[in-house]
Amino acid sequence: MADYDVGYTRWSSTVGDVQRLAEGAGDKVQLDVHRYARDTCVVLAVLGELDLAGAPRLRQSVVSETAAGIRHLVLDLTAVDFIDSTGLGVVVGALRRLRAHDAELSLVCPEQRIRRVFEMCDLDRVFTLHGTVDDAVSEIGAR
């Protein structure tokens, strides 16, 4: 949801969200995970709101990739509109799961509103938050 300084615009935006929800458009869980390969990495691009409702979808995607034996996973959070501590927990769990399989995880998180949640939970000390997928893939390639 956009969050603007002008009260009317801000209200209009949130009303639009409520109307969209009330109309029940689309999937009940507002989270999508798109997969694609990039160099030696698999990228999971996460779109939507990463909370208790969306967490199982991302968790399952990570489990599937780990089971397939990938070496490098990039989680792209650029299109994540909202994340809470449950969403952070999935990301932490992904790192633990990948490390247990001698694989690596990189995060792409350019949006300050999402980075801030990582920072408040000290998880910016656990993860390097890259600005772009290119940056994340370049860093992996440089190792």
Partner: protein, 148 residues
């Protein structure tokens, strides 16, 4: 003091204790809080985050005992402050014995995928009061509204 009148009123929600309703709770409580344009833009995002944390805990608490009663969520615009309250019918817990998480850089930290919600409430709200007992939990989150 600003001469513009402040919106006063309360939005109350009766919400099924299911994860798919979290987005509805965030949208409506965020929209209600945004009615007071003295609340700084970033603080609306904070309201959305803390109500999501409180409602998530409520849903988890009730799921633990298979309690299907609705969760009560309110957002009260009181002029000088906004009070968000989340009431569940879970088994309750002792807020004073919440676990300390290991340091972020330690491998042990990765074993903890939860336990951050209450910490975020205390960080982001001007006041976060949790009252819990065998009949459930009440979380009261207060945001002070400053003059523009």
């Amino acid at each position: 003091m600003s001469g513009a009148p402040r919106p006063v009123g309360c939005v109350e929600l009766t919400v099924p204790p299911l994860p798919e309703y979290l987005q509805v709770v965030r949208a409506i409580v965020g929209a209600a809080a945004a009615l007071d344009d003295r609340l700084r833009a970033g603080r609306v995002a904070d309201v959305r985050l803390v109500v999501s944390e409180a409602a998530t805990n409520a849903i988890r608490a009730q799921a633990a005992i298979r309690e299907a009663a609705p969760i009560l969520v309110s957002c009260d615009l009181m002029g000088d402050r906004i009070v968000v309250e989340v009431v569940d019918h879970g088994p309750g817990f002792d807020p004073s014995v919440l676990p300390d998480l290991p340091e972020a850089e330690t491998p042990e930290r990765l074993r903890h995928e939860s336990g951050l919600g209450v910490s975020l409430m205390h960080q982001l709200a001007d006041s976060a009061v949790l009252e819990s007992g065998p009949g459930g939990t009440v979380v009261k989150l207060t945001f002070v509204v400053g003059d523009a």
